[in-house]
Symmetry: C5
Amino acid sequence: MFLGKVVGTLVSTRKEESLNGLKFLVVRRLTIENEMDSSYAVAADAVGAGVGEVVMVASGSSARQTVLTDKRPCDAVIMAIVDTWEVDGREVYRKE
Amino acid sequence: MFLGKVVGTLVSTRKEESLNGLKFLVVRRLTIENEMDSSYAVAADAVGAGVGEVVMVASGSSARQTVLTDKRPCDAVIMAIVDTWEVDGREVYRKE
Amino acid sequence: MFLGKVVGTLVSTRKEESLNGLKFLVVRRLTIENEMDSSYAVAADAVGAGVGEVVMVASGSSARQTVLTDKRPCDAVIMAIVDTWEVDGREVYRKE
Amino acid sequence: MFLGKVVGTLVSTRKEESLNGLKFLVVRRLTIENEMDSSYAVAADAVGAGVGEVVMVASGSSARQTVLTDKRPCDAVIMAIVDTWEVDGREVYRKE
Amino acid sequence: MFLGKVVGTLVSTRKEESLNGLKFLVVRRLTIENEMDSSYAVAADAVGAGVGEVVMVASGSSARQTVLTDKRPCDAVIMAIVDTWEVDGREVYRKE
């Protein structure tokens, strides 16, 4: 999984029918030190994440292993909201 | 999923039989700020997208989760046409 | 899918038994403007492609969705020979 | 699989329900010469790995082929702790 | 598939139980001109490859399509030993 920050939303009215009801969020990737880099993904939201939150994203077929995304043409899903992470004993991020 | 702009079309008459009837489009990737970069993909079209439209592309096995692409040797599908997306509260793109 | 040019062949006599009969081709990736770049893949051939032809390659589990590659340890397949492609209204490539 | 060093831990209380009980570790990738590079992944732990250990990580759908990760939205799993590896006849790494 | 040279071995005693009996090899990627680059993968061996041999590696779910790797958390497998490959009519590699 990669770590990302939800930075935006995306609206689509014309889409594969099976995608109705899915919320799509724009997620910018974070480095291991909690800095945003230039790459991003659009991911379906399985946990009710909001803009500004730090999340974990699962990609590929694993993105379809949620009730919301099962059998849908979706290759990235937000499957967890991050509370804290530590690197080398330091706390790099803590949710406020 | 990644965001891309449909910039072209592709014709193939000699292909795996199961691909008959699929439309293939050339999609250039967009940065999070709606600028085209040099990478691209050829994707099957599941939503009737046209040249010039901004779309979402699902890759890998997820690209086969549409009626058109089911069980076909296809690893990228346009599964939504984008109306708008926002980053940091700014509207980056709006379909005209 | 990515676009590539078939530039060579590969012979292997000691291989997973299920691969017997599959033809492997060396495919160099093409940019959107039909220029070869340095990356390449070895792909199984499902359409009778020859050296010099421009082809589409499907990767990952999608590479197993042909009769020839079904259930085989093969992650890239040539599933179409390209006749033409267009970008921004210009014809970038036409098969001779 | 890639080789990595476990450098940290990650806590998430709000997540896909099926992920309850899984431990997530932050793994930094290692070069073939056992040097850390800047890329990393968050992986589920299937073998009881600890911070500081060198591990193998399987990605994609293969990450779901353990009892702990089966049918879960998880795209990276630590499936082995490395004892030693050799390159060109030299021992590059040995677990202490 | 990518082409690689087997450059080393890897030993792990603490691993997912289903991996018992699998041999893991360190494979350095080769360019199309048979030069080693800095990237590598650890792959399971399905064909009895040895250090120094040039091999083909299948990645992702395709790596599980051998008797040895079926249903195991393994995302890369050596599925063929290469005898020769040609590019632009030149023989780039021949097994001695």
